[in-house]
């Protein structure tokens, strides 16, 4: 039995009939073909699937799509024109904050949350906040540096 779902994804309305057991991640990837959201552990630990739901980071692998009826969802594809995400992409490239790239969409969504919510975060706080996003390539050093770089840039601009 399918349930009607209507929500906003990256600023555009999306409507579908979905099985209630469909995760938001599977709905984004398979119904909307937004494959920038990666699925890793599928139990809320690795952070690869992190997207913005009503402006706040959420695990799309353990959020039911039907539970997001009426929500405003933004995926990595919807952050192309976002100035904070743009600064983070540049810093990630400069600081070698990715290798295989699988964790990167979730990392960028979390990094954007850190930079916007905690403008005075130091390295220890950045590392604490990053604990929910696993990267098996970089050892995190480049990711932490990239986020600190954007935090510092924004402090100068303030």
């Amino acid at each position: 039995m399918k349930t009607a779902l209507a929500l906003t994804v990256n600023g555009a309305p999306a409507e579908a009939q979905v099985e209630p057991r469909t995760s938001l991640a599977d709905f984004l990837r398979e119904a909307l073909l937004l494959t920038g959201t990666n699925v890793g552990c599928e139990h809320g630990v690795c952070g690869a699937c992190t997207v913005l739901v009503d402006g706040a980071p959420a695990r799309s692998c353990i959020a039911l799509a039907v539970a997001c009826d009426g929500a405003d969802v933004r995926t990595i594809e919807g952050l192309d024109d976002d100035p904070v995400a743009a600064a983070l992409r540049e810093a990630f490239a400069a600081e070698h904050a990715l290798q295989c790239g699988y964790c990167t969409p979730g990392m960028l969504v979390t990094a954007r949350d850190i930079v916007t919510r905690l403008p005075d975060a130091d390295e220890a706080r950045v590392r604490e906040e990053l604990a929910g996003n696993l990267c098996r390539c970089t050892g995190y050093v480049g990711i932490v540096r990239a986020i600190l770089r954007v935090l510092a840039e924004r402090k100068v601009a303030r």
Binding site: T3, H43, A58, A63, A67, T110, A131, G132, N133
Partner: protein
Amino acid sequence: MKPARFAYEKPKSLAAAIRLLAGGGDKAKLIAGGQSLGPILNFRLAQPELVIDVRTLPELAGVRDEGDAVFLGAATTHAAIEDGRVPDPTRGLLPAVARTIAYRAVRNRGTLGGSLAHADPAADWVNVMALVDAEIVARGPRGERRIRAAQFVRGPLTTTLAADEIITGVRVPKLTARARWGHYKFNRKPGEFAEAIGGVVLDPDRGVGRALVGATGDAPHVVGDAAGLDEPRMRAAVAAAGFAPDTYEHQVHFVALKRAAARAAA
């Protein structure tokens, strides 16, 4: 798609949710933020036939000042507590604990009532609510009742809630101006489930002195008379919580409690 098939209902009132839950028997599960049930569904550890979404029920939202306590609605998220978007009757304890729950993306959706009902022994609210002597408010077909948090957990993932009862919120007593608290959570990595949780609340003007040996693998262990708690009594509390002396688990829980007590005294 990983979970087994289930039907989904999103009732508009608490009364309707209780009717659905009572009608569904043990084949029905409530979901709020889904941060505990979601993984369990994905693993197929739970295979309910009906999932009832209570996240946006008006009766589970909001916060009320009740004089000696603050009532926090069950659907209050951990992030709302962390950010101080709801009143804090505990002079900083609840926000400090909330910040250590899982990860921000989980805290944005995970709820106070959902975490309590799930009753993972290593989760934060089942332990800390027992420490502060909060009351869990539940409603079912037979009406409303209050359950003291220290009596709420019967064992791992098992509570005193009846199958047709829904947590509507938690009454958290107000700490007075002279109250002191300390909390220490030991885990290998920030956000993981705790290996040990220690807690101390001293509120002399209310005659309250409580200590917690938490994340025991079972119900939280609370010491009701914790004023002047010294190391031998801490070790006795840890032993009473089920950890034999000279074991790793005993030492981890002892150190967590000792550090919590030191923070309360600082």
